[in-house]
Amino acid sequence: MRLLLPLIAVLALTLIAYAGVSGAGMNYLFGVFIPYAAFLIFLIGFIRRVVQWGRSPVPFRIPATCGQEKSLPWVKRNRFDNPFTTGEVIIRMLLEVFLFRSLFRNTKVDLREGPILRYGSAKWLWLGALAFHYSFLTILVRHLRFFTEPIPFFVKWAETLDGILQVGVPAFYQTDMVILAAVAYLFLRRVFVPQLRYISLANDYFPLFLILAIALSGILMRYFFKTNIVGVKELTMGLVTFSPKIPEGIGVIFYIHLFLVSTLFAYFPFSKLMHLGGVFLSPTRNLANNNRAVRHINPWNYPVKVHTYEEYEDEFREHMKEAGLPVEKE
């Protein structure tokens, strides 16, 4: 059910776009209104989420430490796995954001007969994640050719590099294949590894199916069904210049692709995909491990009302004397 429901949801979304455009002819709704709404939800939702995170106090340094912390001078320390200064934290964050260092550290355990418990390194998740994210980034940059005129140099570079094999026409992009393979891997490991299947939820499968559907619809549109690409760019340029219009002759496959992308954008701030912003705000990564050197004051500390002994004695001095209790001040 956790797997089936998201699959049905993505298929339903595809059908909605198909029926809406092909059947009901609601091109303006699917081509203009929904993309705008989705982008707004994405932008506002993203900011709201990050501000929410920002308002949570982090009273204590809680970095996940993966190496020897700064200690006595003769103890060799690990700078980037247990950073002490801001500079070291920045390098640690760069390694995390660009190279997924924490996934590289992934291990697996298995229990053999004997019984023998074995630990081993497992790099496949790291490799799959890296392939997936970098393909997605390249695809995103490539798509800027529909949103800019004239097209900036880095978009042209991305396209040239991506199609450098010059296989077929329209030129085959490697990332199209890599992203399909990577998403398939990321999905199949959740299905075939029992421990992962156990912890996988509908909101793990849904983004995977959605991204798979987006990639497939894009690939179908580019290489097989073909659509009026000049019309598509007129539509997208209309969107970004706030003069939306719906050119004639754009195939329904484009609207399906656009609707699925809009869904992804609108869903983004409420999902686990927010790790895009979250990776920068994880207190287990972005804090220096300097608890022993720097005093961190709990931000929600308020002035505590105290009643000192001096005040107590001032208040009850007479009664104390009457009862024969010793007092400090006469």
Partner: protein, 142 residues
Amino acid sequence: MYDGGKIITGLVVFVGLVTFPLWSNVGKAAKKPDPKIDTPVIQQLAEKKCIEPKAFMQAEHMKILNDWRDSVVRDGNKLYVSSSGKTFNMSLQNECMNCHSNKKQFCDECHNYTDVKPYCWTCHIEPKEKEKVAWASIEENS
């Protein structure tokens, strides 16, 4: 907000990045491509029709050219029979460019607009158009 300065800086960078298409296009009128089909050869045609219907050519011209290349170079088959039963030479230079001699106003219009870089002209010689002819004649005269 805790560490507000850093977080807000990050958010501003993020918003700047994702709205790049919005602000980078401000004040630029997006010009719609307008491929011209008014070359002298086309104007003299009795029946102004390409080898296949227009919609098909728009979507599949690159595939046709690719198939033609394979067919001519690998199989030596140089004749194309269209869906209407007519026969054409499989030749970019002698068939396509014979009518569409205006590469700049025909091919490049849409290709530049959508940033498509066909590698036809890494082997084929680009047709000499007005500008280039003018340069050549200047060189000849000097």
